[in-house]
């Protein structure tokens, strides 16, 4: 992988790596043996990486989830799947490039994939709208998912959005209804559905393609009802408390697995998927194949009942005379 832009908390690692590189250069140019010193720094680096990357705070994970060099939906489509045939358009208003989708192969399985796609640079973000889909995106996604049902193909949705787009046209074309309709219809699709949060699982915009028989998350992805900044602005009246909000919201994959909201956390390479796209994509592939095998063996009526109950059980409450 090419060098990535370091995040604030990675700077001690970067400094040490720089020291090590300098030492290597000097060692190459001189006759003095620096191997002891190099070994010392290498050990220190390993230790430091372990300390930092194994104890990531929820807010640090949010930053990794938003890293501009993180693998995006189409990167996973390239490295996890084969033979992508992209399909376009919602058949009514237009094509939404923030929500690509199409046929794809996963080992022996033929699959329909849909998901949010962010842009890597300003130019691509103009097309991809920073991964924030309009109603057309959600309606295209449903069109493709219904087609999958017709041809008996399992569905994999790849979630990576800060949220559905808050814009005038999006409201005019009833983005809320587009999301709501997907929630209702996805509940009844008679093929297996696996939803994976790749990076950002931003609220209703994420959930709008997030109904499934399995909900998986990449290790550094987050999934939340509100952005940490939005929560901080409401609760602490200041966005600078986003780190505290990120902890309070329990939005990390680890927390959501503990709460039994998601089924599995998919490991990322040390320091985050942006350090090694290929390994991240292979980890996803392995996990998807396993769950697909499990789901395909389930009778379809039972599958739908299980899907219904999966979402039915979410919620914490108490009442007199029960429980």
């Amino acid at each position: 992988m090419t060098a990535t832009e370091p995040l604030e908390f990675e700077k001690p690692i970067v400094n040490l790596e720089r020291q090590l590189a300098d030492l290597r250069d000097r060692a190459a140019d001189s006759d003095i043996d620096m191997s002891t010193e190099m070994k010392r720094i290498e050990d220190k680096l390993t230790k430091l990486k372990g300390e930092i990357y194994r104890n990531l705070s929820p807010w640090q994970r949010v930053q990794i989830a938003r890293h501009t060099q993180r693998p995006y939906m189409l990167d996973y489509v390239e490295h996890t799947f084969d033979d992508f045939v992209e399909l376009h358009g919602d058949r009514h208003i237009g094509e939404d490039e923030a929500m690509p989708g199409g046929f794809v192969r996963l080992e022996g399985h033929r699959v329909m994939v849909v998901g949010h796609q962010k842009g890597r640079d300003t130019k691509e973000n103009l097309r991809r709208n920073f991964g924030s889909a309009h109603p057309e995106g959600y309606r295209k996604a449903l069109r493709l998912m219904k087609m999958a049902e017709k041809f008996n193909l399992p569905i994999i949705t790849l979630i990576d959005t800060p949220g559905a787009y808050p814009g005038i046209e999006a409201e005019e074309r009833n983005i809320a209804e587009a999301i709501a309709f997907n929630l209702r219809e996805m509940m009844m699709l008679r093929v297996p559905i696996i939803a994976v949060v790749l990076g950002e699982g931003g609220s209703g915009g994420a959930l709008g393609i997030g109904i499934g028989d399995r909900i998986l998350m990449m290790e550094n992805a987050y999934y939340s009802v509100i952005s940490p900044e939005g929560c901080a602005a409401i609760l602490w009246k200041d966005r600078k408390y986003a780190p505290e909000s990120a902890s309070a919201l329990k939005l990390s994959a680890e927390d959501l697995k503990k709460m039994e909201v998601i089924d599995e956390v998919i490991p990322e390479p040390m320091g985050g998927a942006h350090h090694d796209h290929i390994t991240a994509a292979h980890n996803l592939k392995r996990t998807l194949i396993k769950h697909l095998h499990d789901l395909e063996s389930i009778d379809r009526d039972a599958l739908l009942e299980q899907r219904y109950q999966k979402f039915r059980k979410f919620g914490e409450f108490r009442e007199k005379g029960r429980r």
Partner: protein, 281 residues
């Protein structure tokens, strides 16, 4: 008016206004001063400008349902503090005390002009009628009962959206309620969503817009994203009637705008078409 001789559910919650009966109310829209008795007789609609004041859930239920038909479901169900979220337990307790409600929705069996329904009515006084586990669970149960007993579902929506303090569990209530509606829909039973001021966020993006019929009260605000967020994101000026009931009628989201005084009759008329003939409560 005056068909509700007996207010059988008056005990369900305290009055919206802190002012005792016989006092005066100021219309937030036109500034008219209206006495409490007149306002109540007019279902809290302004005598001058027809502004629809916010209704409490108990008032809404007595306005919509046949007299004495309401049978409340899950009256003790309340949210817990699943995330151990800063200040949430006290917040809930405070609103419970203030409103006399356990959470932001009342649900129950009932009848509208003799049609069997289950009804859910959100109460904006309770943390902006935000949806957490309690709201989601009560609505889901009400919908499931409707499916089992072949009843129509009526939900009177108003909400600031999903409740932040319960994190992802609040978001998942959108899926849960929509799932229950999927089964109700599959059973070919009618669902009428009544959108009232204001209906926003995750509630708009789930059950509120899934009605076979979506009805709005005049002038109410309905939207997904808040207008401030849209302005900040797009740097555009918003159209003057943006996100109003009238705007959304023009943009195809809702079937009709119905003034409060006509709501009950309209629902009855619609259910006459939608429920199997000969089924009465």
């Amino acid at each position: 008016m005056g068909i509700f001789k007996k207010r059988s559910i008056a005990s369900l919650g305290k009055k919206k206004s802190d002012m005792p009966e016989g006092l005066w109310n100021k219309c937030p829209s036109c500034g008219a001063i209206i006495d409490e008795i007149t306002l109540k007789q007019r279902h809290r609609v302004c005598t001058k400008c027809d502004h629809h004041f916010t209704l409490t859930a108990p008032d809404r239920i007595s306005m919509l349902l046949d007299v004495d038909s309401f049978e409340e479901l899950d009256p003790t169900l309340e949210s817990t503090d699943a995330l151990n979220f800063k200040g949430y337990t006290d917040k809930v307790k405070g609103y419970q005390k203030k409103t006399g409600l356990k959470d932001a929705v009342l649900t129950g069996r009932g009848a509208v002009l003799e049609h069997p329904v289950t009804i859910g009515v959100m109460d904006f006084r309770f943390i902006g009628a935000s949806m957490g586990s309690a709201v989601g669970e009560k609505l889901t149960r009400a919908i499931e009962i409707a499916t089992a007993e072949k009843r129509a579902v009526i939900i009177v929506c108003s909400s600031g959206g999903a409740r932040m303090h319960e994190g992802i569990l609040s978001l998942m209530q959108m899926a849960k309620t929509s799932g229950a509606l999927a089964r109700h829909h599959e059973a070919q039973l009618p669902y009428i969503s009544i959108l009232t001021h204001p209906t926003t966020g995750g509630v708009t993006a789930s059950f509120a817009t899934l009605g076979d019929i979506n009805i709005a009260e005049p002038g109410c605000m309905i939207g997904f994203a808040g207008p401030r967020v849209i302005k900040e994101t797009t740097h555009q000026n918003l159209p003057p009637d943006f996100q109003t009931a009238e705007f959304l009628l023009d943009h195809g989201l809702i079937d009709m705008i119905v003034p409060r005084s006509m709501m009950r009759e309209r629902i009855g008329e619609l259910l006459d078409y939608m429920l199997p003939v000969g089924k009465t409560a």
